[in-house]
Symmetry: C2
Amino acid sequence: MNGSPTIGFIGLGIMGKPMARNLLRAGYPLVVLNRSRGPVDELAAEGARAAATPREVAAASDIVITMLPDSPDVEAVVLGADGVAAGIRSGALYIDMSTIAPATARAVGAALRERGVDVLDAPVSGGEKGATDATLSIMIGGTDAAFARAEPILRLLGKNIVHVGPDGAGQVTKACNQIVVGVTIEAVAEALALAAASGVDQVAVRAALLGGFAQSKVLEVHGQRMIDRAFTPGFKSKLHRKDMNIAVNAGQEAGLQLAAAALVRERFDELLARGEGELDHSALRTLYDTPVKSASS
Amino acid sequence: MNGSPTIGFIGLGIMGKPMARNLLRAGYPLVVLNRSRGPVDELAAEGARAAATPREVAAASDIVITMLPDSPDVEAVVLGADGVAAGIRSGALYIDMSTIAPATARAVGAALRERGVDVLDAPVSGGEKGATDATLSIMIGGTDAAFARAEPILRLLGKNIVHVGPDGAGQVTKACNQIVVGVTIEAVAEALALAAASGVDQVAVRAALLGGFAQSKVLEVHGQRMIDRAFTPGFKSKLHRKDMNIAVNAGQEAGLQLAAAALVRERFDELLARGEGELDHSALRTLYDTPVKSASS
């Protein structure tokens, strides 16, 4: 093939649109598809070509990337009628950058490999800002050969790019990441709530804890958000709820009852039940705003 | 008074002995007391004077420091028969560096203040190594005047010395610290267990997570311990269990049901029930060694 390979990009949401734009700006011919029309028109105005179905995207592309909300979306877009699998060429490369269940990633990957396609699961973290600035962390599962093919493209999207292991390893790593981030947010929320309810300055507590083993990026960033009551996302609680569910289920499939992950999934359920799923995940702190009884000390 | 003030030091355990030694080496006249005789003899050989009761220690000292295992110990040593309160001079300074319940710290402090004594609660973190190397983190509650008096001495014991707030604020901050450390250890244990049970390399997962929002000192240090199965303390599980209990109870007194803190207290109970309370707190990881059922993926 001459020149840059054509990239098909499906899913132009908050994350997908700036990622696709970064590929376009780097000079890759781009074919795009999205459920709503707005972002397609935007990227078309910048030089991308619009397609009508995932099948059409795949048929026109050497590399297909998906960035979709959840496991059923990826299943439908790849394996459904007029899906990616129906159009993709043998020898093509498929990269799913959505955050989905490891089991779904493995099933979708297996179906495409049967068609002679190289497959990677490559979920990201770093949010809209990371997507825009091309500073995402990318956690990758798949063969060395597939990773070598994808690496130059992934380097246009992120900074911390780690090939963790085989098929599904990217999604497992992302699930691990979301467990640690979610549970640590709950930990910091409980600590700062205890300080506040005990009449101790949260700013001083955060500063003291940052100097020792309690130090974390979450204490630094989300702890500050909690103190400032600045719950504009960032990363929405409803999305982290989805990810905690993936993590807890992945644990169950692997024979593990992940206790704190399950607890934090419940905390997010409670926050969503209050209608606050659009708030940043650090809003877990607000669940400790109402004392259960008057203080005895 | 001429020369250095005399310091009374009660509680020469794993932490207390090296702390007392650092004060002795800095040239302070030292009067010591400990339940067992060994450490007293050791420090006496280096120039300290042994006393027979807390009352006697207090009567001979300008500054009294306690470093004891738990709340009842501090209550007994200060307020019991032949306790510190019975011997301490008006105008003396009392510093409790034990980790105890904030409510106990406030009660003991109030009793001594009635006798004209300056009081600080000043629990530490950093373990035996921090105590020996004088690099402890010290979290302090009390008046500005009491803190100003204590500061030169505290600087001989630690590096990260934070005056957080009034009476009890040091113990509240320590409880916050232990919540964050304990719950983060559980988070990292669950993540690494999920990786291992899913057949994904834990070393690669830890490295990938350290690059993003999942970063923490616990992931760095205790995550490595979990991977190496290196559970020699460090900080013993049975002590962290005690601290989680203090934290959960302090929450209840402040009107809060701290969900993850309570869960991690239960996890430590389970570890202790297995007879593994002497292991490092990162041994929470071992509770995920036994899958609950065979893997389905």
